[in-house]
């Protein structure tokens, strides 16, 4: 079985890089094939990269609080592009200001994300989730 391929990056006009760098490296060390888009990545670029690389999952970061705006309609665009089956994860500081994480979680799940992570969340835990989800889909 080949290694699963994942796309990482920070979405929208967001320049926070450290989280996505650490996440990418951890994924690589865990045996994933990682396509690292870095910061300031338009949603469309995630889709294109997923298509080009036959990705199994997209792991988006968003720290600057305006992520909700950036990913409006993202799931729909994925489906239109034929990426029905790609797992969508997002993590970071997902709203402006102090807020309850559960609210953000609900919002982003509604927007079509399979899993949503709070700031400073443990990368190892996320990778374990990813493996489990891929397994459930018969992909790992």
């Amino acid at each position: 079985m080949t290694n699963p391929t994942v796309i990482t990056g920070t979405v929208g006009k967001d320049a926070h890089v450290i989280g996505t760098k650490i996440l990418s490296r951890a994924l690589r060390e865990a045996g994933f094939n990682v396509v690292e888009l870095g910061i300031l990545t338009p949603p469309e670029e995630f889709i294109q990269a997923a298509l080009d690389n036959k990705a199994d999952a997209i792991l988006m970061s968003s720290l600057y609080g305006m992520g909700e705006n950036d990913v409006q309609g993202f799931k729909e665009k994925c489906i239109q592009a034929g990426l029905n089956d790609v797992l969508l994860y997002i993590g970071g500081n997902l709203s402006v200001g102090k807020h309850d994480f559960s609210e953000a979680e609900a919002t982003f799940k509604k927007l079509g994300f399979d899993r949503v992570y709070p700031p400073a969340s443990d990368v190892k835990k996320a990778i374990a989730d990813l493996r489990a989800d891929l397994k459930a889909k018969g992909k790992a």
Binding site: A15, V17, N69, K98, H99, A120
Partner: protein, 488 residues
């Protein structure tokens, strides 16, 4: 590398021509009338001029707070600035939002409408270009004591500073490295230098007419964790560019990483070397407004109130011991999101308590550890500055560009593609930051030896290699109330 950009003062006529396309970017651009703006600036009281306020802090032996703050609506930004004034914060930032930073003004207009309608906060900063000169003056006029400083992005710099200065702001972080290295992926340093040269020249235009606008020079903002000397050397390079375009006031920013000996050493060495290089290159009439100590991103992640207070309180104590004119601290809500007004108030009240109590004592300390760190820092900063001037043949712009290309200046964890990213830092046993990988840095051999020994010392003490995992643990150490990272 072929570049036509030079560190040479722009001719005034030429500069004025460059302004046209900038002011046309959005209708508010045409609200800027330079002659009127100079007059407006001149009638502002001293208490709103950054340079004069910083000198006042110096004369009175005080350390003030320069926070980070910005919010979407003008009314809210005014309330916030007044709150800051009430909290005795005289240096007031106007952090712009991320859409403004990308020149998406129509989008901002839409969001502002929605915010007014729904009452929700959907912008992470103040959209000063959409508001324009006249409206933004309401902000400047809303306080009695307070010098404003916009926080911008590469793309927005030219128009945003035109509007900011015309509206009465008196300082800006116009330094080519800051946006390029920390906020951009594809933009080149050369582009950033060109943009900043415009801003510096604008400052020079005001200076020629007697209006002093200061630049707080942040240098190459480091996203990773490494000794601050690349950063500090580039703050000096920044200053030289400002000076060449006619700027008269430099605010020397010194980023703190949390080890007192090292932080105090950097605070001591930087303004001294800054003065030396300015003088050497003929900018004797450029003044140093003061030293602004600044918390670097050490990631105080979600944690309880207790630690959240301790971290900025610690920074305040170090700045006060270092007798800086100001300090930038985070709020207790830093890890959670854009801070609330209450969180600003509490954070600065707490820090101000410490700043007053410690500065009032005029406590003088000597420390062999500070002396040692100062010697190391001085050697490193000189190595970088001298290499810049050498490969640039005296031209600091050409020199910086070449140094980045060659990795003579470098940083880890950079989001920008131009950066070599061949260096790595790590803490030593006492929490001082060391170089673990030197990449192509032009450091003297004895300095490298010093760092190697310090890293080896910690490796021995902890019985493990100082690898990538150790580095990531070090990132989070302060958030966990620890000086250095420990394996979980």
């Amino acid at each position: 590398m072929i570049t036509t950009l030079r560190n040479k003062r722009l001719d005034e006529k030429e500069f004025l021509k460059m302004r046209d396309p900038v002011l046309d970017l959005w209708p508010t651009g045409r609200e800027v009338d330079l002659d009127e703006a100079v007059e407006y600036q001149k009638q502002l009281p001293d208490s709103k001029n950054w340079h004069k306020l910083a000198r006042k802090m110096n004369a009175e032996g005080r350390t003030a707070i320069f926070p980070r703050a910005g919010t979407g609506l003008l009314e809210a930004q005014i309330r916030l600035s007044r709150k800051l004034e009430e909290s005795c914060v005289p240096f007031i930032p106007v952090t712009s939002d991320s859409y403004t930073r990308q020149l998406e003004f129509e989008k901002v207009d839409g969001i502002l409408d929605e915010m007014r309608k729904t009452g929700r906060n959907l912008l992470n900063g103040f959209p000063l270009i959409n508001y324009g000169v006249k409206q933004t003056r309401r902000l400047i006029e809303s306080v009695t004591v307070g010098a404003f400083n916009p926080r911008l992005s590469l793309k927005s710099y030219k128009l945003a500073t035109e509007i900011s200065f015309a509206a009465g702001m008196t300082a800006v972080a116009a330094c080519p490295f800051i946006s390029w290295a920390a906020y951009e992926k594809d933009a080149t340093l050369e582009e950033s230098m060109a943009v900043n040269q415009y801003v510096h020249r604008l400052i020079g235009y005001y200076a020629d007419r007697g209006v002093v606008i200061s630049t707080d020079n942040h240098g190459w903002i480091l996203t990773g964790m490494q000794p601050m000397t690349v950063n500090l050397a580039t703050t000096i390079a920044d200053a030289i560019m400002v000076a060449e375009q006619g700027g008269r006031s430099i605010t020397s920013v010194v980023h703190l990483m949390g080890n007192m000996a090292q932080d105090l050493a950097w605070i001591r060495v930087t303004p001294r070397l800054l003065r030396e290089y300015l003088d050497k290159l003929g900018y004797r009439d450029v003044e140093i407004a003061g030293v602004f100590a600044q918390h670097t991103p050490l990631f105080p992640m979600p944690q309880s109130m207790g630690g959240a207070f301790a971290f900025p309180n610690y920074t305040a104590v170090v700045a006060a011991l270092g007798k800086t004119e100001a300090v930038s601290i985070r709020t207790i809500d830093e890890a959670l999101g854009v801070p609330t007004e209450e969180s600003h108030t509490l954070s600065y009240e707490s820090a101000n308590w410490l700043l007053q109590i410690v500065r009032g004592q005029k406590f003088e300390l000597q420390s062999a550890q500070v002396d040692e760190e100062a010697a190391v820092a001085e050697a490193e900063i000189r190595a970088f500055m001298d290499r810049i001037l050498e490969v640039g043949d005296g031209d600091v712009i050409v020199g910086c560009l070449k140094c980045v290309e060659e990795g003579f200046l470098d940083s880890s964890f950079s989001p920008n593609k131009q950066v070599r990213d061949q260096v790595i830092g790590i803490k030593d046993s006492r929490g001082a930051i060391r170089w673990r990988e030197f990449g192509n840095l032009p450091l003297p051999e004895e300095i490298k030896k010093f760092h190697r020994e310090k890293v080896a010392e910690r490796e021995k003490a902890e019985g493990r290699e100082m690898d990538y995992d150790a580095l990531v643990q070090d990132f989070w150490a302060f958030s966990k109330g620890r000086l250095t990272g420990k394996p979980e």
